[in-house]
Amino acid sequence: MMSAVAFFKQPLVVALALIAALLLLGETLSPGFASGQQILRLLIVAALLGIVAAGQNLVILGGREGIDLSVGGVVSLSAIIAGNLMDGSNAGIPVAILGCIAAGAFFGLANGLGVTLLRIPPLVMTLGMLGVLQGLLVVIRQGIPSGKAAPGLSEFVTQPVLFGLPGIIWLWIAIGLFMAFLLKRTVFGQRIYAIGSNEHSAFMAGVPVGVIRVSLFVLSGVFAAIAGICLLGYSGSSFANVGEQYMLPSIIAVVFGGTPLAGGKGGYTGTMAGAVLLVILQSILTTVNIDESGRQMVFGATLLVLMLFYGRGKALRT
């Protein structure tokens, strides 16, 4: 039985408590903020961030300073590929999904191979890849017109499908269940924690460290690609660098969810709460009547204060 203090120190509990507090604050600042309709809208936005953060979460869990800065580029690329492949028609959706996932997996694979075979630090490798992706976006955008979302996709993302919830929420729940199963119930998942907490002993125990790390980066690319497709459905058409806004927030969602950047511990349930927390915070700041400069200052300062609740590093003095 855990003590009350330990219970309240769990990242998931902290995140959920903060979410409740922020909803209450939002409701007092502008009545109607916490209405069902509004919360649904917030959850859709959070799902987009949360899906990107799923891949980020896996890469970070795998340790060795695992981080994926290229997710933003993959999201943008996927949104534009999906827009072109479906170009406003439902018939193009399957091809678009396949094309985007293939592209995401390809760039994830490239990242993973660079990190494992050449042992380039993930931050450097994915930073370089981000530059490549941004360049590729310019080429694609000037070569072909940026297409439109198929009506079916837009409906899936924004309209209720089942029990009043839009398809993207169901997709996010499914991803949440998939991640929980993957991390807690499969050998693959256990091996992720193993290489994240001590790569050397995992290697000695026969864990195929390289293969697992590469697959984490591939999964990160795939999740970013899925988020890109959904983002296209949400906004209707893809525009310049839509994905950039997900790069660092996806990392913050993971940290707010209780997965330290050092890897090896944590999970996705917390990250989902972290994504919701981040989106609610941003939403409150847009409802209050302050100008952009004040909004940014409050947002930055709040993030810092919130970080104090989570994984602070160990003191050198013990």
Binding site: L69, R119, L127, G135, S293, M297, A301, L308, G313, L316
Partner: protein, 329 residues
């Protein structure tokens, strides 16, 4: 770093030792190759005017890369350097505009700019080292805060710099372009800093923080000082941006942050800390500049330029990491 010179038995090639003494050497070779290629495709680019304009444009990135290097020494990272640069840029421009464009107000505004950079650096240092938050996310949060401050000081870009300021930066003194004096002063400054205890301390913290702590080094204070130094150099970079663009822009530095990290890595510094040189970072910044101009000179169609630049920088980063590791092994 110099321990191995005592045991030459397992350290065969002298080239290897040479790389170890001068870890920026691979970057320097890449730089020379790029210079030659630039010269082949556009002879004018290696003329006095060409080099001057290259230095003028990329001096800010060189300084920002140096700023990044001091925190990277200690195994930290600062994703707010670009935001600090923007903030100092708008503060300096606003003060110059209010105080008038004479010599005294200009120096006054620059002093204020340095103070702002220093303050931002100290804030980062406290947040990362004293509060022990993770550097990547914490400095991202402070970068949002600094950007907010910059937007508060100057909501929209466009306020011009006093003529005397950008004329001096872009002009010549005794037939020598002004930026070369800046480079000379910078070189002297960096050389002096290299010999300070602080740099040695930063490197030892980055190499092994617990060991540094156990030998009695004030690790937290050292890391804060590293961030403070980073803030100061970001402010210096802001002066160069101000001289080069001759106007204020609250978002001017945003895109430069990741390039400063890339330049430090290109120069052979290890992001895990404990190893690196500021000379390497300066060379790294120049490599990025030369890649950008070479892509243009070889006649890449405009829509392909970003992609070719991105691929070339990724390739250079990989070479930098691989060669750097070979040198250290």
């Amino acid at each position: 770093m110099t321990v191995d010179t005592a045991s030459p038995a397992h350290r065969s090639g002298s080239i290897k030792r040479f790389f170890e003494r001068f870890p920026f050497l691979p970057a320097l070779i890449i730089l020379i190759v790029l210079l030659v290629l630039n010269g082949i495709y556009q002879p004018r680019s290696v003329s006095m005017i060409g080099i001057t304009s290259l230095v003028k444009t990329y001096l800010a990135l060189m300084l920002l890369a140096v700023a990044q290097t001091y925190v990277v020494y200690a195994g930290d990272i600062d994703l707010s350097v670009g935001a600090i640069l923007s903030l100092v840029n708008v503060v300096v421009i606003t003060l110059m505009q209010q105080w008038g464009g004479g010599a005294l107000p200009i120096f006054g505004a620059m002093a204020a700019g340095l103070a702002v950079g220093l303050a931002c650096g100290v804030v980062n240092g406290i947040v990362v080292a004293a509060f022990r938050l993770q550097a990547i996310v914490a400095t991202f949060a402070t970068s949002i805060f600094f950007t907010g401050l910059a937007l508060y000081v100057m909501p929209v870009a466009g306020t011009p710099a006093p003529t005397a300021f950008w004329r001096t930066y872009g002009g010549s003194l005794f037939q020598v372009p002004f930026v070369f004096y800046v480079v000379a002063v910078l070189a002297a400054l960096l050389f002096a800093l290299t010999r300070t205890r602080l740099v040695t301390h930063l490197l030892s913290v980055g190499d092994d923080a617990p060991a540094a702590f156990q030998t009695g080094l004030p690790v937290t204070a050292i890391r804060i000082k590293g961030y403070a130094l980073c803030g100061l150099f970001s402010a210096l970079a802001a002066f160069c941006v101000t001289g080069d663009t001759a106007s204020g822009d609250p978002l001017v530095g945003g895109k430069m942050t990741l390039f400063s990290v890339a330049a430090a890595v290109l120069g052979g510094s290890a992001l895990s800390g404990g190893f690196g040189t500021v000379v390497g970072s300066v060379v790294g910044a120049l490599i990025i500049g030369l890649i950008n101009s070479l892509v243009y000179f070889i006649g890449t169609p405009s829509e392909w330029q970003n992609l070719v630049q991105g691929l070339a920088i990724l390739l250079a980063l990989m070479i930098g990491v691989l060669v750097g590791r070979m040198a250290r092994r």
